[in-house]
Symmetry: C2
Amino acid sequence: MVTSVGENTTGLQVGDWVVMVKQQAGTWSTNHNVKVNDVVKIPDHEGLSEVHVATITVNPPTAYNMLTDYVELNAGDWVMQNGANSAVGQAVIQIAAARGLKTLNFVRSRDDIEHLKEQLCGLGATQVLTYEDLNDKSLRDKVKGWLGGKEIHLALNCVGGKETTAMLRYIGKDGHLVSYGAMSKQPFSLPTSAFIFKNLTAHGFWQSRWYLDHSAAEREALMGSLTQLMKKGKFQAPEHEIVSIGKQESDSEATSKIRGIFQKLAAGRYGKKVLLKFEE
Amino acid sequence: MVTSVGENTTGLQVGDWVVMVKQQAGTWSTNHNVKVNDVVKIPDHEGLSEVHVATITVNPPTAYNMLTDYVELNAGDWVMQNGANSAVGQAVIQIAAARGLKTLNFVRSRDDIEHLKEQLCGLGATQVLTYEDLNDKSLRDKVKGWLGGKEIHLALNCVGGKETTAMLRYIGKDGHLVSYGAMSKQPFSLPTSAFIFKNLTAHGFWQSRWYLDHSAAEREALMGSLTQLMKKGKFQAPEHEIVSIGKQESDSEATSKIRGIFQKLAAGRYGKKVLLKFEE
């Protein structure tokens, strides 16, 4: 929340809610003096939760922009993605569903796969498949049936490796592959024929670069689109844990608390976002 | 050469030179009745050799368009490519040189590599390297020196495989990789970091699709740009062999002659273009 603005500052007032879009700017502090251009105003924030707003800066806009910037999509069109249960993947499912788009979602297989499928379908996923399903030759006909004559022109990738190459079998002519992560830590291999005969184009997306390349008005418009979805109940806050740093806590107590969380995060899949709240 | 035009045909006259841009249209015949849209007029053809015109349809426009359609390049800017001694590669070198562009060219190593380097430099190549050179860590500083602070924003690939991945180390921020072939018969592997942090975009180029997507006026303008280069001596005809099919030859004689050539072509690297001439 804006507590004070400098002289000649336009576009922001005391009481406005803002999010920081410059990387690593002021995350670890109660109050911070920032440049106007390092933050984006959250327009019309009444009724939004702190969790919604605290998690709005990176994942939801990544999903939103990838669904907007590369391919013109209309209701009924399909999009596919891997890592579909990632925070961005879940945002893609919800934003796509709100726009009437259909999603073909790929995830790793796991013991509770049916539970995960239910969860993603609850968010609006049209189909959820595992990477193992890609090895099943009967999948081709199934997908063809689902598509009903349509082609998929947008594929989103945060995994890399063979999962991406395999998913690309389902990309249509003039399709676009947008990569925003590499969870598998593997580069991906692309057949030249897809580029030449299907006219595939491959891009990378990075929300930090998007912020640098866009004006304050464009950034605020993006936030407005996302907050509208949140207010309409079409965008759930991600699974999260709020860690409060109390006003009375000493630096060493706070450090120890946060160190414990980082150890858990570093040890493996924490499975939810950790939000720090500095109490005043 | 146009020997007759249908009623209401516009844009072509008897005596015009044309090339066929529809794939496999009429290659094996002395005379052929084609649709206007299946051919492109060679404007202002006086002074051009038949060899120039017979080889103008695919390789020179591929090079020309790849140098034009993806990145705005000005004199002094750099382009890199692998398979630099292919027919398209040589066209890239010559068209780039004519525009004042500098080229970083990669080829397979071979016994007569110095001869090949001389030949490509004779066409206007700025630097010629082998894929083996890419493994040499000192190359990074050498290339840096050549570039003198510039970045390479366009990379052309007809090889695929690891040669392409290795070449991409030298692509700059916001670079474009355009693939038009896969001589190695290997897909290529791209690190996601190049897409995300360097904002790499990867495309495919196919001249046949270009013709389908462009108007008669655009096609003729392209041919005009190429013939101007040829007339100014800035574009050498590729190495070639003209095989004449005499008017007196029987079908079986002609078939046997052509079969012999195909056997040589299929056996390995013929090393030059084969042009058929049907004598009248």
